[in-house]
């Protein structure tokens, strides 16, 4: 039930035809909402949005009563892109795990912060900044959290050499 409403709400962010399943999405995929096979992937909805749509997408989830599970990044070095992945889930018995992802250029990895919507995103964003150097615009306190205070390296980048 919540799955369909969330899917529709997220789909409204995209104008025109967007891929609705994995097969249509192609690789590298275009922005849009995909229904995933829960048995295989472990989550239901997979929405790839542009960085400027992020706040709108997260607001939809916040209004839908989702809680924030985690935020992480992936360094796609071959495609010269950086991906930020947001995991959301629900407390009730209508399981619906939503993944919001956004891709930004690797050289200028900047996405808006969602800590204004979800206070708990604060540490997750700081951690992602630690590991990938992704900048979260508007974050109140973007200093290293898990790495030392003076760390200027980003260990999860694929070209990181210790």
């Amino acid at each position: 039930m919540i799955l369909e409403t969330t899917q529709q709400a997220l789909q409204a962010l995209f104008a025109g035809a967007v891929p609705a399943n994995e097969a249509e999405a192609g690789a590298p995929r275009d922005n849009g909402v995909i229904l995933r096979d829960y048995q295989k992937h472990g989550y239901h909805l997979d929405a790839q949005v542009a960085a400027n749509q992020l706040l709108a997408a997260v607001t939809i989830l916040d209004q839908g009563g989702f809680f924030i599970e985690s935020i992480t990044g992936v360094d796609w070095i071959k495609e010269n892109q950086m991906e930020v992945i947001y995991d959301f889930s629900r407390y009730d018995f209508d399981p619906c795990r939503v993944v919001i992802r956004t891709r930004v250029p690797r050289d200028t990895p900047v996405v808006p912060t969602i800590s204004t919507i979800y206070a708990g995103a604060n540490w997750h964003e700081r951690e992602t900044h630690d590991f990938f150097g992704i900048k979260f615009e508007g974050h109140p306190h973007l200093v290293p959290l898990l790495l030392p205070e003076d760390a200027d390296f980003h260990p999860l980048l694929k070209d990181f050499k210790a």
């Binding site: 009563g65 809680f67 999860l156």
Partner: protein, 372 residues
């Protein structure tokens, strides 16, 4: 009861709690801006035992990464390894024999009881009562003995394998587990009388440190912290995995939102875990413990896989981004205490330091799990 007092943010001092402090149970640091004994503002500093497990996940094969998972949460390690093997099995499409899944559930629940027991002892010790810790450790020792006889380790287990188990349980284990359950129930009654009913204990926890359900949602708190705030959320029920749908158990939920509610949730959870173990031992089917159709070197298909499990501390998630290689391209560990601790900063404002540290104890922190 802490009366509402007017805090003076202009006349404060900075209290550095940790990284070496008896209440933080490890190396956690909280910078507290204090007005007398009241906390005006707190900032948690993490990372003192950060080991970059996620990078190790990229450099090691999936099988080689197995021992890492038990180094996250040293008190409830089996829950985390369970999440890892389930994630790989889901992604690679490996079928697990039923007997193996039952043994996994039994051992995970035993480990959960052990973890909660240790938390119980340490929590009461935070409040100044020392003897319950010793009683709790005494009971926990029985569990560790059982698990040691099966897995060969006491804390950092490496027992589950993709598609099954390292080795089978024997009759001794089943007997020991059956003996343990009534013993543990008796102990739980003792803890109830000695600690839960104690007026000093109640006064210290009741109405202290309220965490609203909305706050839990914003911070992504899970596990007993969320259940103590009236949220009926347990991954075992909400998103059933393994053989948990086969078991008849309840999810204890309390609506008081205070430290006492979080305490009671965990105490009740021990009883529910005992029920699961009881049923598991009864239903334990025969058969193999390892699937035969298992590739020697596991390679996952290209894609993005997520698996959530309910560990002793909350919902643990593991995300594997695979590019088809024998290593993960990216491996993210979502640790529950990381989110649970995050709300501490906001929730402890205006609290007495005494209550704040009791609140911290009620969050059930394991620092290596938080720092990863």
């Amino acid at each position: 009861m802490s009366a509402p007092i007017q805090l003076r943010p202009d006349e404060t001092f900075l209290l550095n709690v940790g990284p070496q402090h008896p209440a933080t149970h490890g190396v956690l640091r909280v910078k507290m801006q204090m007005d007398g004994e009241y906390i005006v503002k707190a900032e948690t500093v993490l990372g003192y035992v950060h080991r970059m497990h996620e990078k190790m996940g990229e450099n090691r094969t999936y099988a080689q990464y197995l021992p890492n998972l038990s180094r996250l949460d040293y008190l409830g390690a089996l829950g985390y390894t369970h999440g890892h093997v389930l994630a790989i099995e889901r992604a690679a499409g490996i079928e697990v024999p039923e007997r193996a899944e039952y043994i996994r559930a039994i051992t995970v629940e035993l480990n959960r009881v052990a973890s909660h027991l240790f938390w119980f002892g340490a929590f009461v010790m935070d409040l100044g009562g020392f003897s319950p810790l010793m009683y709790a450790i005494q009971d926990r020792e029985h569990i560790l003995d059982m698990l040691e006889a099966v897995t060969g380790a006491r804390l950092t287990y490496c027992y589950y394998r993709f598609g099954g188990l390292y080795n089978d349980v024997d009759d001794d284990f089943i007997e020991a587990a059956k003996r343990f359950i009534p013993r543990m129930r008796k102990s739980l009654k003792k803890y109830d009388a000695l600690v839960t009913g104690n007026i000093i204990f109640q006064k210290r926890l009741e109405d202290i440190a309220p965490v609203s359900a909305e706050m839990c949602r914003k911070y992504g708190a899970t596990g007993p912290v969320a259940r103590g705030s009236g949220i009926n959320f347990d991954v075992r029920k909400n998103e059933p995995y393994s053989v948990y749908p086969e078991f008849d158990f309840e999810v204890p939920v309390y609506h008081e939102c205070d430290s006492m509610a979080r305490y009671k949730v965990r105490m009740d959870e021990m009883e529910q875990s005992l029920r699961i173990i009881e049923q598991g031992l009864e239903k334990l089917p025969g058969g193999p413990i390892m699937t035969e159709k298992k590739p020697k070197n596991i390679k996952l298909p290209v894609g993005d896989f997520y698996q959530a499990v309910e560990t002793a501390r909350g919902s643990f998630g593991i995300r594997i981004v695979s590019d088809g290689d024998k290593n993960a391209y990216r491996l993210k560990l979502r640790s529950p205490t990381y989110s649970n601790m995050h709300l501490f900063d906001e929730a402890c404002e205006g609290m007495l330091i005494m209550d704040a540290l009791a609140f911290m104890g009620s969050l059930d922190l394991v620092i290596p799990e938080m720092d990863r």
